[in-house]
């Protein structure tokens, strides 16, 4: 009986959670005139015209490719640099460690609006404007600190005796880290990868400032649907539905790592 009550609450929560997304899906399958003219709980005349436009118009689909490119680069850089740093913070005491740890997070705390102009100047000095690497690097500003913080939390949950035992058993640091330690914190790595992907994917201000055409992200392309005749809600909704897909795939791949969690039995 108790388990049933839990399930009902959970299903009700998911029902509410999915409503706005359902509405977006509903709109994406209708024409703009139909959306503005009638209230309808489900699409009566289903049309795929909005999706077809996105898949055939290169100014639309290239936005997705650009976003996926810089988001992937960003996630890889963030994880690779944050893993050793998080290990250092969770295991070692060193000069300035706590200051450094908190400083990292302060980079998420500045209001973006006024920082955009100096950002543009900095990246044009290096000739990086309108490249994928520029956006990936700029997003490191908030993703790397986040990755360090999340990973540090997970690593600190693992007793240090484990490291000591492994070193006594003759593991070198790299082999210990890759073969013993990484499997233990894979829940953390999975969550971190997802969060880096997510925050980079939805960020608009930096991505839009640092790109013009070649590396233009999908979120910036979508603001284009605002025209003199008003918004094209159908097209915007279809694009919105498609922006969910890559991230949903990412979480599908990391879900087992999140769910399995702590596999202490391995050592």
């Amino acid at each position: 009986m108790k388990i049933k009550k839990r399930t009902i609450v959970l299903i009700f929560y998911f029902f509410l959670l999915m409503l706005p997304i359902y509405w977006m899906l509903n709109m994406s399958l209708r024409t703009n005139a139909d959306i503005l003219g009638n209230f309808s709980l489900y699409p009566k005349d289903i049309t795929f015209a909005n999706y077809i436009k996105i898949f055939t118009d290169s100014s639309w689909y290239s936005g997705y490719i650009n976003s996926i490119l810089y988001v992937s680069i960003n996630t890889i850089i963030s994880l690779l640099t944050a893993l050793p740093a998080a290990y250092a913070f969770s295991r070692y005491k060193f000069i300035g460690d706590s200051q450094m740890f908190f400083w990292l997070l302060t980079n998420r705390m500045a209001p973006a609006a006024v920082f955009l102009l100096p950002f543009f100047q900095l990246y044009s000095t290096f000739g990086l404007i309108d490249t994928h690497i520029a956006v990936a690097l700029a997003h490191c500003l908030f993703n790397v600190p986040l990755a360090v913080w999340i990973l540090e939390g997970f690593m600190s949950g693992i007793p240090r005796e484990l490291d000591e035992t492994a070193y006594i058993d003759g593991y070198s640091f790299p082999s210990f880290f890759i073969f013993v330690f990484m499997p233990l914190i894979r829940a953390g790595v999975g969550v971190t990868a997802f969060f880096c992907f997510m925050f980079s994917w939805v960020e608009l201000l930096f991505a839009r400032t640092l790109t013009t055409t070649v590396a233009k992200p999908i979120a910036a392309t979508m603001t284009r649907t605002v025209s003199a005749t008003g918004l094209d809600w159908g097209l915007l909704s279809a694009a919105g539905i498609l922006t969910i897909v890559p991230g949903a795939l990412v979480i599908w791949f990391v879900r087992n790592h999140m769910a399995k969690g702590f596999a202490m039995g391995r050592v």
């Binding site: 959306i35 250092a88 005491k93 705390m109 209001p111 006024v114 949950g157 939805v202 960020e203 608009l204």
Partner: protein, 289 residues
Amino acid sequence: MNKWEDNRAWFLVIPVFIIVAFSAILPLMTVVNYSVQDIFGPGDRMFVGVEWFKEVLGDSRLHEALLKQFLFSGLVLLIEIPLGIGIALLMPKKGWGSSLSLVLMALPLLIPWNVIGTIWIVFTRPDIGLLGSFINGMGIPFDHTASPIQAWITLILMEVWHWTPLVVLLAYAGLRAIPEAYFQAAKIDGASAWAVFKYIQLPKMRGVLTIAILLRFMDSFLIYAEPFVLTGGGPGNSTTFLSIYLVKIAVGQFDLGPAAAFSLIYFLIVLLLSWLFYQVLQNAGKGGA
């Protein structure tokens, strides 16, 4: 658990430092530069000292925006953190139910922020939106573009809908990282569900909850795109939060000097409050477990 003392650990931190400092330090210095100068055009500027800081600190509309911002962030944290922990505890631990929950949970987080606002415009419209027409159907006239209270409720609803999943995902991952042995021990002792939560799950989630609370505080305090798109700061100035007001000064009036001073003060407020949160959460853990 005492840590090893070894300054060579810096070598593990240096890559992170370089990559973050590259984007962080020069723009910050440029903004500090703007904040003490009156800029008329390229190469035509005058040093004005703390003039802009005085002007910004005395701005009554800024005080108003700051108060609203505190109220908004406070409400958002009070709703999202307990709700997020609760849902994470309810979620299935394994099997297809767990996979499905995780994927569904992530969906709202993956929509670009400007699109979230746009979708909610339609979703809450009384004539063609699901939520708007539902509330109207219950006999309550709903129009968040006319009533400040309804604009606030809509924004909070949108914020809770959008970001509670982040708390859930973090809390869920934290819960999964607790070794099974703890629960077996608790079972042998005959501990109640509440005792298990209070003495095992909550203390073990401290790390992830610290991140969740800090992230939610910072991002809700800096919120821009969603309210800008949904309400534009209105009706009147009722939802003009700090960052919306900042952009009005920076872009609308093109006052780069005051806007830069504003940004720095804004940044310091977020910094100070985050630091306080961090200290409190760190110490709470030491005392409790």
